[in-house]
């Protein structure tokens, strides 16, 4: 296994620290439950378990992040550059590609194109989950929160993006909106409008970045695990994932941002996770990539968290500072120029994030009782499960257990980078769509889980059959395909049965139901 030699130097994460963090989190969560005031919502065990799970998961990630910070400070050697994720960069696989790999990768790209096409118009889950039969916003009309874009029914937030799009196409002067900070998305869309019209320009941009996510996850899988199957399974999981299906044809920047997060992880690996010659130039380049991605939607937040957690702080703090300052500079430059053009950069997610922070202050002022009640009112468990349903968590847990330490550490940093902002935001809104930024780590860990189950399946089958290599290989492939089809059936349940359950979960987060 690449990078898993016993003579590795210190790492930012250690298994025992993670297990200690989880154990501590369970203990504190149980204690916090007793701090809760008597309330109706505590009347059943399901609600209690919901609070306990939400608190445990949140505290676990918090403690792991804190312990990583302390460990990171202790690592003092300058080489190798990133002990967190790259103990032995020279021995890594160059990433060889066989015709079969290309074929599977093309199939994965074809698969996301198919998902994208099947979930167009009124079957887009973002839109469908706002219809009355989703039983959330029942006061809306039968079409849900909808607009007509070039004759196609689409999610209605797209209305607010059109003035910015017209600014780029030159059809109209700028109009301030709460989406001014996301102008980069409309810059990309404006290129496709002349070819495809407005609806398909939005959808087409999403598809391009969905493809990039597929390729990025495949690349990251090859980079962090020695088995080529991990990257390929991960690519298929991205192609059929809830987040991309949900956002695929919505006139919104989320799918583009998801795709860019995968690309940023690749960029980090290529620029900063190797022997660092000209480190500051590379830090500027990574900061530039992060800042320009942040002009799409929110992706700079998980990317910067990743930047600060993925490398040892003591030896790389200058790189982190320069990368962060470059990111902020890019974001600020557009804010200055946009303001000059008459945009306002007020409201929207920035205002909501401020409200979320203010709510946290109120919670901490309220003491243990309010902190424990956060586990109920802010639905942390529901937010995480909305982004990835139980089977993905189970597979990822298997994958985490079976992965080599370096890969496990890398995936854990990705999870923390994505889940931290999602959990922090829960005091204002529960947004599984933010937690879905964890997809590169989560789906690659799940790939390892699938790989392990398939290996077990092939061993079982070979014990009944001849036990030859071809039989084991066929059993392995059959098991992988069976699991992938089962998971794709879950994410495509809206098409198969008409049920909007998973779309609703992704849109609004689960409540206390299990």
């Amino acid at each position: 296994m690449r990078g898993a030699s016993p003579s590795q130097p210190d790492t930012v994460f250690r298994v025992r620290k993670e297990l200690t963090s989880v154990t501590l989190a369970i203990g504190i969560s149980d204690f916090l439950i007793y701090a809760l005031p008597i309330a109706d919502y505590l009347a059943d065990w399901g609600a209690l378990a919901d609070i306990a799970t939400g608190l445990t998961v949140s505290l676990s990630f918090l403690f792991i992040a804190i312990s990583s910070g302390f460990s990171s400070l202790k690592i003092s050697q300058a080489s190798p550059p990133s002990t967190a994720t790259d103990a032995n960069p020279e021995k890594r696989s160059p990433g060889n590609v066989t015709p079969l790999t290309v074929l599977i990768l093309l199939a994965a790209l074809g698969l996301c194109s198919l998902e994208w096409y099947l979930h167009r118009d009124d079957r887009n889950p973002f839109l469908a989950s706002s219809r009355p039969e989703a039983n959330e916003d029942t006061w809306l009309t039968a079409d849900g929160y909808a607009m007509l874009l070039d004759g196609h029914i689409a999610q209605n937030d797209g209305t607010f993006l059109l003035p910015m799009l017209r600014m780029f196409t030159g059809d109209a002067p700028p109009e301030p909106s709460e989406f001014d900070a996301r102008a980069g998305h409309l810059y990309f869309v404006s290129f496709l409008v002349p070819w495809l019209g407005t609806y398909w320009a939005f959808a087409g941009t999403n598809l391009v970045f969905w493809w990039l996510a597929v390729v990025s996850v495949w690349w990251l899988g090859n980079r962090n695990w020695s088995e080529q199957s991990i990257g390929l399974i991960g690519a298929v999981l991205v192609a059929t994932s809830q987040g991309f299906i949900f956002m695929g044809t919505a006139p919104q920047p989320h799918a583009v941002a998801y795709g860019l997060f995968g690309v940023l992880l690749v960029a980090h690996d290529l620029l900063l996770n190797r022997r660092l010659d000209a480190p500051f130039s590379k830090a500027v380049r990574f900061g530039w990539a992060t800042g320009s991605s942040g002009l799409i939607y929110f992706v700079h937040v998980p990317s910067l968290i990743y930047l600060w957690l993925a490398m040892p702080l003591r030896t790389h703090w200058r790189v982190m500072v320069i990368g962060t300052l470059t990111t902020l500079s890019i974001l600020t430059i557009w804010q200055i120029i946009g303001s000059y053009l008459g945009l306002s950069f007020s409201g929207g997610n920035s205002a909501l994030a401020t409200e979320a922070v203010a709510n946290w202050v109120t919670i901490f002022r309220g003491g243990l009782q309010d902190i424990a009640a956060w586990g109920h009112y802010s639905r942390p468990r529901g937010t995480m499960l909305g982004a990835f349903w139980y089977p993905w968590w189970i597979l990822a847990a298997i994958g985490w257990w079976k992965s080599p330490r370096i890969a496990r550490n890398w995936a854990m940093v990705v999870l923390i980078a994505a889940f931290a902002p999602a959990l922090l935001f829960t005091t204002r809104f529960q947004l599984p769509r933010v937690a879905f930024f964890a997809y590169p780590g989560m789906l690659l860990l799940a790939s390892v889980g699938i790989d392990e189950i398939a290996k077990l399946g092939s061993r079982i089958v070979s014990s009944f059959a001849s036990g030859t290599a071809p039989v084991r290989r066929e059993a392995y492939i059959a098991t992988v395909i069976t699991i992938l089809v089962a998971l794709a059936t879950v994410t495509n349940r809206d098409l198969i049965t008409g049920s909007l359950r998973f779309a609703v979960n992704f849109h609004y987060a689960l409540g206390t139901e299990w």
Binding site: P94, N96, V97, T98, P99, D121, D122, R131, P132, E133, N135, T138, W139, T141, A142, D143, A146, M147, L148, L149, D150, I153, T159, L162, L165, R166, M167, F168, T169, G170, D171, P173, P174, A183, G184, Y187, S190, F191, V193, P194, W195, G197, T198, A267, L270, L271, R285, F286, W288, A289, G291, S292, L295, I333, W334, I337, Y340, L341, G342, G498
Partner: protein
């Protein structure tokens, strides 16, 4: 066959890189032929951030990918200036139709989806059908609207039927009116009419919105202005907000149609 996909391949091709850089600069120059000053400034800003940024970030990596990316960027920039396809205004998602005369009437035809799983599940679960009518403000007899379905008078709208949030008293919102299940036996469609109460003295407003999935065609909504019928589909690409819902206990919605 084995292909080396290392992005930082030692065999980088300076000629390809230089071509990619030249094409990218050409693409940016073409983008600057903008119809307005604001378009020019915004395009220049993002061309610098993304176009120049991509070159800076990529450095000497992946020359072929850089070249393909640059050519795509150039073609897209040319199309942006050559193909004239403005971003059209979407039709309004909320508009109103004033009814200020007893001769006026809003009509909407709905074909319940009897054969669908959604309908059958709701019907078999003793689902209760409701007609939803959206109107402005708090309606109370006599200043209200009267609902008729397939010629049978159902109800005059009143405040007890108000459904959904109304931030202000004059806000628009749905009125939720139960209709007997018997209306659906032997009736292939529902013909819903909304008129002003004969005693009303004030003008009343019925909401309209976009239409995308009408059960009885895009012309299923109509307004009689006292002399002739007008289709909101023709005038606004829209319909009146008159819907059928099948609901279970606790308000669980099995489906909503119009």
């Amino acid at each position: 066959m084995v292909t080396d996909i290392r992005v930082n391949s030692p065999g980088w091709n300076p000629r390809l890189i230089m071509m990619a850089r030249g094409i990218t600069l050409a693409a940016i120059a073409i983008q600057l032929i903008a119809p307005t000053f604001e378009a020019l400034v915004s395009r220049l800003t993002f061309a610098t951030i993304y176009g120049i940024g991509a070159l800076v970030i990529a450095g000497r990596s992946a020359p072929f990918v850089q070249l393909v990316g640059a050519i795509t960027y150039l073609l897209a920039s040319i199309a942006m200036n050559v193909i004239d396809r403005p971003v059209a205004d979407p039709p309004s998602t909320l508009w109103g139709q004033i009814v200020d005369d007893t001769r006026q009437e809003v009509a909407h035809r709905i074909i319940p989806p009897y054969g669908t799983h959604q309908w059958q599940q709701g019907w078999a679960s003793d689902g209760q059908p409701f007609i939803y009518v959206c109107a402005r403000g708090r309606l109370e007899p006599p200043e209200t609207l009267v609902l008729t379905v397939n010629g049978s008078a159902i109800s005059a709208l009143d405040t007890s039927q108000m459904f959904g949030p109304r931030p202000q008293p004059e806000s628009v919102g749905f009125y939720r009116i139960p209709v007997p299940r018997g209306l659906f036996t032997g009736s292939p469609s529902l013909y819903v009419q909304v008129r002003r109460d004969e005693r009303a003295t004030l003008p009343l407003e019925i909401c309209g919105t976009i239409t995308a999935r009408p059960t009885a065609g895009f012309e299923s909504s109509r307004f009689f202005n006292g002399t002739s019928w007008i289709s909101p589909w023709t005038t606004r690409q829209g319909r009146f907000q008159i819907e059928l819902r099948l609901e279970g206990p606790g308000g669980h919605v099995f489906g909503a149609w119009y």
